[in-house]
Symmetry: none
Subunit: 196 residues, 4 copies
DNA sequence: GATGAATGAGATTTCATTCAT
DNA sequence: AATGAATGAAATCTCATTCAT
């Protein structure tokens, strides 16, 4: 398995990964087959095995990439105040969804529920909540956030709102942006539950 | 498709559905095969097709049954006080999920985002929020609930929590019941946001 | 097998036969299944076996009916002169096709070629050629028809023309009637080959 | 579907097609199963699907091949005299049918009436009539053929005979070759109708 | 007369994987 | 690096038929 070294190889591997992501989003992970991935990326099935040990192997690759993207963002905002960070993370998430579009987000979120390959690797895709929880903790320690509830619980409320408004946004027939639908309510909740 | 007409037929169909749910929860939906379902319910494969058009068809059947059961419940609790009703609905929902099992609930919720075929049948599955919103309105009018936030917003928070805790419960490797994971937090939120 | 005796039974049997004919015309005999026939006629599969011993059994029934229709016509024209009879038979055939319509005739003729259930029962559907041959023989004996060629060969030429013009008529995008397309040519051939 | 690219692949695909034709002629198309075809050609069932999309797909392949072979033949005989050409085309057609076998020819001709899918691919299978008509025209111009009837009408008679004798040959339980059944009659007609 | 339950054999199709080139 | 050949196990689905009611 010393594949994906030459520029051409890298390109091919990328193409396969890309097709795989698209299909997994479209049909759910467990329902995406190797045959389809190869057809979609215009590659022979044999070629697939040149780059990946098995159909499961490609999952790891995909999760690695997603994780990297998120980590990159988290590093950038590390120096802000807790409240700023909180706002930035939540906004980042909504912008991110808006950018990807309703259909894709629907699939991403749907796949959160839809049965996996048995392992919880996908879990790693959404480290946001832990991150948000950390921010709230920090705010509680520095005294700007209320500690009436645990940081964990508060983070769950916020993520829950994002999830639910995303759901409503996806179902929404008009073109109202996600931020507009969710924004003020999230701010209310921050004020009423989290800020001192 | 003239199946499931006689008492015997109904029984057989139920047995198949039951076995299917059990297996899907045990090994995941995508990995549950028709052969296994038939073996588990003790019918020939041909018999399966006497009752269902295809392997996917049984999923729809399962989801359809959900919807019917939920509607039935709503009618029953109509005479309680707003707070009682609120508690009953939320608890019912959690009990219900617990009873169905993680895999099936995952599919139900996942389908909220990824409609399997584009029909709006699934849409009907979650009329709960409107129902909860109605209950809160009623409580605000009778003065037992706070009107700091709109009934709609409050109902969204509650449903968001159910959704999110269900998600966490599905992912949870231990056997902690949903109610235990979500219960106290939901009560906190009712106290802090909704009750006067 | 004492079925189809009561008025209701006759009706049901007719409905099954009718659906079977329609389907066999539409998809070819060998490709028509009992399941489809029952679905099309709105009858349970068990009911089918109330009237027919097997899937093949219905074929006999159908052929018997067709045969009766044709024989009835032949009897009517028995007193005409050979030339009149010849004209009447050929015209009857074309009128018959015109009445059934292009799609149906296409299926009837197509099915003449398309593989059967192994027996040549269908053969009986087209006793016309033998009949035409008989008419020509008669004409040759009474001296009004030429005997340069055998009656059999001449009858083949005529049937071949009907077959081929039917084919062209079916393909024809305009609404020209079959008789108009084929008529004069068939008359030419009768004059040039058959009449003295 | 990247199959049949290497010499080995071509060979395998040919072997499958060949076995299929043989079996279809032996037992009828509708009764020939994929399992048998695979067994007869010595490939795994999976291999079949490497080359064909479905069991029906192979029929199209067979018909497509016909068309190509016919066109190829027409180009070859372009330099002969009209009468020679006429004889060669008609004989070629009959030899060709003989070589393919009754079941396959039945399917080819049946499809003339019942297009399997509505595409006009099949249409191309019978450009013979136009070709024959051209030959007769040429003969009329050079004065070797009679112009009592139009070239078109004469070509129709000839094609009609081929069609009808093919039909009779297909039905014929004995093993009499098509040429023997049709040959002398076609010659008679050429003499009596077409030659000067 | 009619239905629907039930079957089992066999048909088609899918899919992850291995291998020679 | 990439392909296409080939596989075999297992999955889905079809169908004619029997039977109890």
């Amino acid at each position: 398995m010393n594949a994906g070294k030459t520029p051409k190889g890298v390109k091919t591997k990328d193409r396969i990964v890309e097709s795989a992501i698209k299909l997994m989003n479209a049909k759910g992970i467990a329902r995406t087959t190797l045959v389809e991935v190869c057809a979609a990326s215009g590659v022979a099935q044999g070629t697939f095995y040149h780059y990946f040990k098995s159909i499961n192997d490609i999952l790891y690759e995909i999760l690695r990439i997603e994780g990297e993207e998120l980590l990159f963002f988290y590093e950038i905002i590390i120096d802000n105040s807790p409240l700023e960070k909180l706002n930035k993370v939540l906004n980042f998430q909504m912008d991110y969804y808006e950018k990807k579009g309703k259909a894709v987000v629907a699939q991403i979120l749907g796949n959160e529920f839809i049965p996996l390959q048995g392992d919880s690797l996908i879990e790693k895709l959404l480290p946001i909540r832990a991150f948000v929880s950390g921010i709230i903790s920090e705010g509680q320690e520095t005294g700007v956030f209320s500690d009436r509830n645990s940081a964990e619980k508060d983070s769950i409320v916020l993520m829950a709102l994002i999830l639910t408004y995303s759901y409503m946004w996806i179902r929404d027939k008009t073109d109202n942006p996600l931020k507009e639908i969710a924004g003020s309510h999230i701010n209310d909740i921050i004020e009423q539950l989290i800020l001192k």
